[in-house]
């Protein structure tokens, strides 16, 4: 019991060691191993506990939800590498003419839809990063705004139903997933709306950060524009909406829609005469590398949380929390803080597994509406994907962003959106009916 602080100390250790700049996946795994060894040396950690590690790796392998990742990466890479994404967004830019920030708005919209329907943050952020980031940069968007919009809208899917986070939360809290979906509807809209409003306001106040397309690009004949709309805008848009729609209306699972969408992207490229052997090879290569990067971060993270538990870090937190003063407000505040910190290094599945057994009994004892509490937790978990320096969504975008984007750009870009999310969270806490009203109708 005397060394229970070792678990929390892992976070400080990881913070320090990750800043060395060695790849995240292996740093997380390495930190886990180092602390595990310290625990073994102090005789508070049974090394046999680590034999659960391969089982956790197998569990990630066999996770059908994660199978959506390679497909959406492939889809995004195909649209990007063949120039289809660029033509699409450019034509949309021409159509919207002088509307500043139009491109960013489109990203919020498509990103939120994509995120909402796949529910897999890695897949969304990577696909949106591949498709929209280069185009936004080319037309002079501010790097921070461009990256912020992508990571923020990529994580939106955690709260917009149907969402994996809500399914896991419902399961863990023992409340109806259907009610949770309905309850999260208004909060999800609020967040998406806040993002869109933010983009519009920023574009209005500072024309330089989200410019309209330059005159030279916009200035084409009506006939030419019509031709472009029909040939380069409608087909990929149709593809994207078919993929999203089929998930939304239950025609296909995200994995299935991703697979068919990948084939659709190949066909589109072929129709545009862009489907070459080298393009296919390049897209496959990107898919392989990005998938490896994402999955190995999850491996590192699963090792981290296993050791955290082995060192009784969860019990330490429980003791700390149950002795906390401050009532409901204090409890919610601690909730948020803990989720932010855990969100640095631990995947949301595992966060849910660690915190809910600790928090849920306290929430019940405080007499909180569990449905409302579930939505608050979901919104909170979503924000934790974005918190610098180590939010997962930030890693995923960093992994596909071009070199002229610095890591600091991504961090700074995320900050306004984190502020917006926290604001919405506060509004939800102050006005519970925003969550509970719709379910109460059913």
């Amino acid at each position: 019991m005397g060394y229970d602080w070792l678990g929390p100390a892992m976070f400080a250790g990881a913070l320090l060691l990750l800043s060395l700049g060695y790849p995240v996946a292996f740093s997380l795994g390495g930190v886990a191993i180092l602390f595990g060894l310290v625990g073994v040396a102090l005789d508070i950690f049974n090394p046999l506990f680590l034999t659960a590690l391969p089982q956790r790796i197998f569990n990630i392998m066999a996770n059908y939800t994660l199978l959506a990742i390679p497909y959406f990466v492939f889809l995004g890479a195909m649209l990007e590498k063949t120039g289809l994404a660029e033509n699409l967004l450019e034509t949309m830019g021409i159509l919207f003419g002088r509307l500043r920030g139009g491109l960013a708005l489109a990203v919020v919209l498509v990103g939120a839809l994509l995120a909402a329907s796949t529910g897999v943050v890695a897949a969304t952020v990577v696909a949106m990063g591949l498709i929209s980031l280069p185009v936004m940069l080319r037309y002079g968007y501010n790097k921070q705004l461009a990256t912020g919009v992508i990571v923020a809208s990529g994580t939106l899917g955690q709260i917009i139903p149907p969402s994996l986070v809500l399914v896991v939360l419902g399961d863990q809290l023992g409340i109806s997933v259907g009610d949770l979906f309905i309850g999260a509807f208004i909060p999800g809209l609020l967040m998406a709306g806040a993002f869109a409003l933010h983009v519009l306001i920023v574009a209005f106040l500072r024309p330089d950060v989200a410019p309209a397309l330059p005159e030279s690009v916009r200035n084409i004949s009506k006939g030419e524009l019509a031709r472009r709309v029909v040939s380069v805008m409608i087909p990929p848009l149709l593809l994207i909406f078919l993929v999203l729609g089929s998930i939304f209306f239950g025609v296909a699972t995200p994995t299935e829609a991703g697979a068919v969408g990948s084939l659709g992207a190949i066909i589109l490229a072929a129709l545009n005469g862009k489907l070459t052997g080298s393009a296919l090879a390049e897209v496959s290569d990107s898919t392989l590398r990005i998938s490896s990067m994402v999955i190995f971060i999850l491996f590192g993270s699963t090792a981290f949380s296993l050791v955290f538990r082995g060192l009784n870090g969860d019990r330490f937190m429980f003791d700390l929390l149950t002795n906390l003063p401050g009532g409901t407000v204090g409890f919610l505040l601690v909730n948020m803080l803990v989720i932010f910190v855990l969100g640095f290094f631990i995947d949301f599945f595992e966060i849910a597994f660690i915190i809910i057994p600790i928090f849920a009994p306290v929430a019940r004892a405080l007499g909180l509406d569990m449905l409302w509490y579930g939505v608050i937790l979901g919104a909170n978990l979503q924000t934790s994907f974005l918190t610098p320096p180590f939010g997962f969504a930030l890693f995923f975008l960093r992994g596909v962003a071009p070199p002229e984007i610095t890591t600091e750009d991504i961090y700074r870009g995320a900050i306004p959106f984190i502020v917006l999310q926290v604001l919405v969270l506060v509004v939800l806490i102050l006005f519970p009916p925003l969550v509970t009203f719709l379910p109460s109708l059913g």
Partner: protein, 188 residues
């Protein structure tokens, strides 16, 4: 140093080859995914069961092969993301030191321990010829073995990266062009 650089070159060639081959699996993965969707709808239409758990499991087996075999290749191409806030501002020397620390303190211990804690469960899976518990599912032991293969390849690549960074640190001339990592992610 020359000898070690030769070793590094062999390792690089091995992982480059494995990685390149594995990219071919991506297209197969797309194909199987599309077939599974078709089978489901076609099967409902003609009232016959065209889908099978074997085909569904092949999908995640393929994905597992992709990231297991691709991990070392991705490491070779510097494709594993870093928190490079400080790293990118360091000179080549400091970066090499950071990489050497990362390789010896994080990468190699992590990979060795995964191997150490996995081999028995993989062996067990072989001994009982473990199958999928689902009807029509696939054998589990081959895919479980890939954990060992993947982390072994990572160890090899870690050794290669270690050698190359050491050579950098010693300013060993001439840096053979085939050993200079691609500038994939900003920072290195």
């Amino acid at each position: 140093m020359e000898f070690w650089l030769t070793v590094a070159r062999w390792i690089d060639r091995l992982n480059e080859g494995i990685g390149r081959l594995s990219t071919g699996l991506v297209l197969i993965l797309v194909g199987v995914g599309v077939w599974n969707v078709l089978a489901r709808y076609l099967g409902q239409y003609i009232q016959q069961n065209l889908a099978s758990n074997a085909l569904i499991e092949i999908q995640w087996y393929l994905f597992a092969l992709i990231f297991f075999l691709g991990a070392a290749y991705t490491l070779k191409h510097n494709g594993h993301v870093r928190v490079d806030i400080f790293y990118k501002n360091w000179d080549r020397r400091k970066q090499a030191i950071a990489n050497l620390i990362g390789i010896t303190c994080f990468l190699l211990p992590f990979c060795f321990l995964v191997l150490y804690f996995s081999w028995q469960t993989v062996l067990q899976s072989w001994l009982i010829r473990e199958m999928s518990p689902d009807p029509g599912g696939l054998p589990r032991y081959p895919i479980k073995s890939m954990v060992l293969v993947s982390f072994s390849l990572l160890i090899l690549q870690g050794i290669s990266e270690g050698i190359k960074n050491l050579a950098r640190l010693k300013n060993h001339p001439p840096a053979p062009t085939d050993l200079i990592p691609e500038e994939e992610n900003h920072g290195l």
